[in-house]
Amino acid sequence: MSVASAPVKVGLARKILRINWALFLLICAIAGIGFLMLYSVAGGSLDPWARPQMTRFAAGIVLMLIVALIDIRFFRWASPLAYLGALGLLVAVEFIGKSGMGAQRWILLGPVQLQPSELMKIALVMALARYYTWLDRGRVSHPFWLLPPLALIAVPMLLVLRQPDLGTAILLGAGGTMVMFLAGVSWWYFGTAITLGVGGIYTVMTSRGTDWQLLKDYQFRRIDTFLDPDTDPLGAGYNITQSKIAMGSGGFSGRGFMQGTQTRLNFLPEKHTDFIFTTLSEEFGFAGSVSLLGLYLLVVVFGIASMLRNRDRFGALLTGGLTSTFFLFFAVNMAMVTGLMPVVGVPLPLVSYGGTAMLVLLLAFGLIQSAHVHRR
């Protein structure tokens, strides 16, 4: 390693001062909102959700700070290992996680339940960042050198889709694509991919009812309900219908903390996980939901700003990729619960109840902080 490419070396005290404390506070604020909502959802009780969530957050935030102080070069070195490890776990879950519950495949590591697909969200970004740091700048858009990153993205995506976990697969794919975009892959590829995708979907949908129909009728019907849940208000559409009712009934200023009838009377599904934003919207109204959205966007702004100021390619790409993944998290979740997008099962970051997701997110922020602390 030459001095030129090395991040600035600083003492521990300087490092601590260089931590992005504003971002840290933002994260704490969002998590705090999460605790409040979990408390409300449980009917004004710390159990069964708020207390474990707080414990995990406390552990996670310490982890984040420790990670922030570790030299970013270590992570650059460890990236391939992290990717291979997460991939191994994903494969392992195929075999030993079989008795898991439905779509969510868990793996037991000692006392900790782990969702390898969550870990993969970070590991994939790390691996791609590492790849583009290694790859000569001039070859980024060379078709051959596109194949390794695409494989890096596709393999975990397919494994996750098999689980099946559409939400995580979308996050992985979109997150990976964003890293490729930041790395400088030519616009042409993205343009072409989007055109082909849209064209393909258009072709399939217009084939309906013609002689050359590409899908079976029941598959089309399934797509219908997926795209427009209102056609099945008591089945697939129940969740989203109730969710919209909850949000809308919150009005501008909300029905008050712990006063949401939709939440309290169990009309809302998954109210402590994927649909927790709905509870917030119902109880704190438009003001509350836009505030949370603002906090999230602020995190994104902080992340991208940190990326722009970082002249270390690995650190920058890692920060950009993780920030984008974080953005995808809350954007997909909010689009889902507001009925802009079909329900795919993505939790609200830092707010929804869930151990792995919380730890992984804080780990990701730890990496972002590390890149920030050790920036050039």
């Binding site: 030129a4 949000m247 809308g248 009377l265 009309f267 836009v290 966007l297 722009l308 507001t338």
Partner: protein
């Protein structure tokens, strides 16, 4: 070498520097682009939230309330019905029932097994319970047993600690005290059917309550709306599973208005007792205010069976009974009035001025009109007959002559003045109007010309003429009072007596009435009267009346020749109906009594004694003095009257259930 190496190192550094410059710039540009895109999407989300939470907030708030709040009906308490003395006839009984809540029972089968040790749960009901539980949510109570008696109910209560999820409940259900005695008046309620709901234009939402009971016959049906009352509502908060979380508020409904009928239950009981096995109807009416004190159709049935849902066996037994217990004979039984119609004919003739009451008409046993011969009931004839004697001995020939003189239309007009041929305005759905024919009627219905023979038949209450026992009582009351007394069945509403409107005069000269009344007096009290055996010996209470015997078939010439027209020789269904109408006391009339005994034979033998006994019971009450009976008929001791008791099997001798 070193120079070479130096150059290479320099070139490398240069390239790296260029690369550095080259690599930072795109990240900056693309990073800004990405941030921009993300912020734009954030704006889209914010716009969407604004649309949901600000623009459409009201709509969603409404939907949330609809989700949350459920409007429930509180069934109203049905009005109770009492007799004129306040004895309950139709009441809301406590229905002891047992329900099981699945989620609290744990193992339902085990609970039912245990409950089965305490009360009887037939297998078929168990099957139904199982199905119902399967269908409904776990917290919905499912009825296991209803109408338990107190002993069983108490047993369930005592065993509650070992019966998880079992709840004893007390609900309200219609009960008819002394049900059979008033079944044909009060009627009964039953579960509302889909058809009944569909038949209504704006069905009361309360009808949608499962197992809601509405009136099916009788008063219960006729004034259902008054009896039902108004349902209350309560708003309850429910959760997504439909469980009631709390009651938000309630608006109490109004119970129906209690009724006091004009009926006297004790008299009803007496009538049934007195009728015994006979298929008969009795109507007792107050001649002054029209109160219907007794309305009996015998045999009767137990209306309580219908409230709980009658079993097929019971139902078939009622249907196949040849005495037709379900038929309301006093209201819808239409019988030819026979000779009881003769007063009407006499009054019509007097009014028309076609007869002098002292004119003598010769009765030789039969007369010939056209090619047909018309007979008097007395084959040998009555000889010369004046009006009073014509009633006293019920001479048919006299009335044939009257019919010839006055014509059917004037008879019909007179009949209608006495309430015949029209439905009385009473809250009884079964009520029928009978039939008073006239020339126009025959032309309209049969498209035939009225024949003189038709008039002759009508004049003795045969032929087309049909009347109900109720109408006969009204007719008699009007003859007795001289006024257009209207029958009434409801005496007080909500405890407030309903004022009686003074009946209008009939506009018939008193002299005419006196003649007819005198005739009726002689029927019962004179030596030659047809109902002499059924007189009331007490001078104060003397009764006037008229017998009637109406044929249900025409006697063929062959039968007449063979001499087979003795009733006793005929099968029951073909025997004559026995009728008797009466009022008493003669000098100051109080009650009119009409009796029809189906296929009972002669009116004087089958109907008059019943009418007399009923009349005495009405006049004297349960203690009938011996002096009221004619000598030779006095019972050794006055028959102790069976007082009506709450139990249903006493008070009448023949109750079909």
């Amino acid at each position: 070498m070193s120079l070479n190496r130096d150059r290479r190192a320099r070139r490398e550094a240069q390239r790296r520097n260029e690369a550095l410059g080259a690599e930072t710039r795109p990240v900056t540009r693309r990073g800004l682009f990405l941030l921009g895109a993300q912020l734009v999407f954030g704006a889209v989300l914010a716009y969407r939230m604004r649309q949901l939470q600000v623009v459409e907030a009201e709509r969603y708030l409404l939907l949330a309330e609809e989700n949350r709040i459920n409007l429930q009906l509180i069934p109203p308490v049905r009005a109770e019905i009492f007799d004129r003395n306040g004895v309950p006839l139709a009441v809301n009984r406590q229905n002891y029932r047992v329900v099981v809540v699945r989620e609290r029972a744990g193992d339902v089968e085990k609970t039912l097994d245990r409950l089965g040790l305490v009360i009887d749960i037939p297998d078929h009901r168990r099957e139904r319970i199982r199905k119902e539980m399967h269908r409904k949510s776990a917290f919905v109570p499912v009825s296991v047993a209803e109408y338990l008696d107190w002993k069983n109910f108490a047993a369930v209560n005592a065993n509650l600690p070992s019966l998880n999820g079992v709840h004893p409940e007390v609900g309200l259900s219609r009960g008819y005290e002394n049900g059979p005695l008033t079944a044909h008046v009060v009627g009964y309620v039953g579960r509302v059917t889909e058809r009944e709901i569909e038949a209504q234009k704006n069905p009361d939402p309360v009808l949608q309550i499962p197992d809601f009971q509405i009136g099916k016959t009788g008063i219960e049906r006729a004034i259902e709306a008054q009896l039902r009352g108004e349902a209350g509502t309560r708003r309850i908060e429910i959760n997504a599973a439909g469980r009631v979380i709390r009651e938000i508020d309630r608006i109490d409904g109004a119970p129906g208005t209690d009724l006091h009928l004009t009926l006297d239950l004790a008299l009803q009981a007496y009538c049934h007792e007195r009728l015994g096995e006979a298929s008969a109807a009795v109507v007792v009416m107050d001649t002054n205010n029209g109160d219907l004190v007794g309305l009996v159709s015998n045999p009767s049935y137990n209306p309580n069976l219908f409230v709980r849902g009658i079993s097929p066996d019971d139902w078939n037994a009622l249907l196949n009974d040849k005495y037709r217990p379900l038929a309301n004979k006093w209201a819808s039984g239409m019988y030819p009035p026979g000779s009881t119609f003769k007063m009407v004919v006499a009054l019509a003739a007097l009014k028309a001025g076609v007869i002098d009451p002292n004119e003598r008409i010769f009765c030789g046993g039969s007369i010939k009109v056209g090619r047909r011969r018309f007979h008097c009931w007395k084959r040998g004839g009555h000889g010369h007959v004046r009006m009073i004697k014509s009633l006293e001995e019920s001479c048919d020939i006299y009335y044939y002559e009257m019919a010839k003189r006055v014509g059917i239309d004037r008879i019909a007009e007179m009949a209608r003045q006495f309430g015949l041929g029209a439905e009385a305005d009473l809250p009884i759905p079964a009520i029928k109007g009978g039939l008073i024919p006239d020339e126009a009627w025959k032309r309209r219905i049969h498209d035939e010309v009225w024949q003189l023979g038709d008039s002759l038949n009508s004049a003795i209450g045969q032929g087309f003429v049909l009347t109900t026992p109720l109408q006969l009582a009204v007719m008699t009351a009007r003859i007795a009072s001289g006024k257009a007394v209207e029958p009434r069945l409801i005496r007080a509403r909500g405890g407030v007596p309903i004022p009686v409107t003074e009946p209008a005069a009939l506009g018939i000269p008193k002299g005419h009435f006196d003649l007819v009344r005198k005739g009726m007096h002689e029927v019962v009290n004179s030596k030659r009267g047809t109902a002499r055996r059924s007189r009331i010996a007490d001078d104060e209470m003397r009764m006037a009346g008229k017998t009637g015997t109406s044929q249900v078939r025409s006697i063929t010439a062959a039968e007449r020749a063979a001499g087979v027209f003795k009733n006793e020789d005929l099968p029951w269904e073909r025997r004559d109906h026995a009728l008797f109408v009466s009022y008493a006391p003669f000098n100051k009339p109080r009650y009119a009594v009409a009796v029809v005994v189906e296929h009972g034979g002669g009116g004087s033998k089958a109907a008059a004694p019943i009418a007399r006994d009923v009349m005495m019971r009405a006049l004297y009450g349960p203690e009938i003095p011996l002096r009221a009976y004619p000598p030779g008929q006095r019972p050794e001791r006055p028959s102790p009257e069976p007082a009506p008791r709450p139990s249903q099997d006493r008070g009448t001798s023949r109750i079909r259930t």
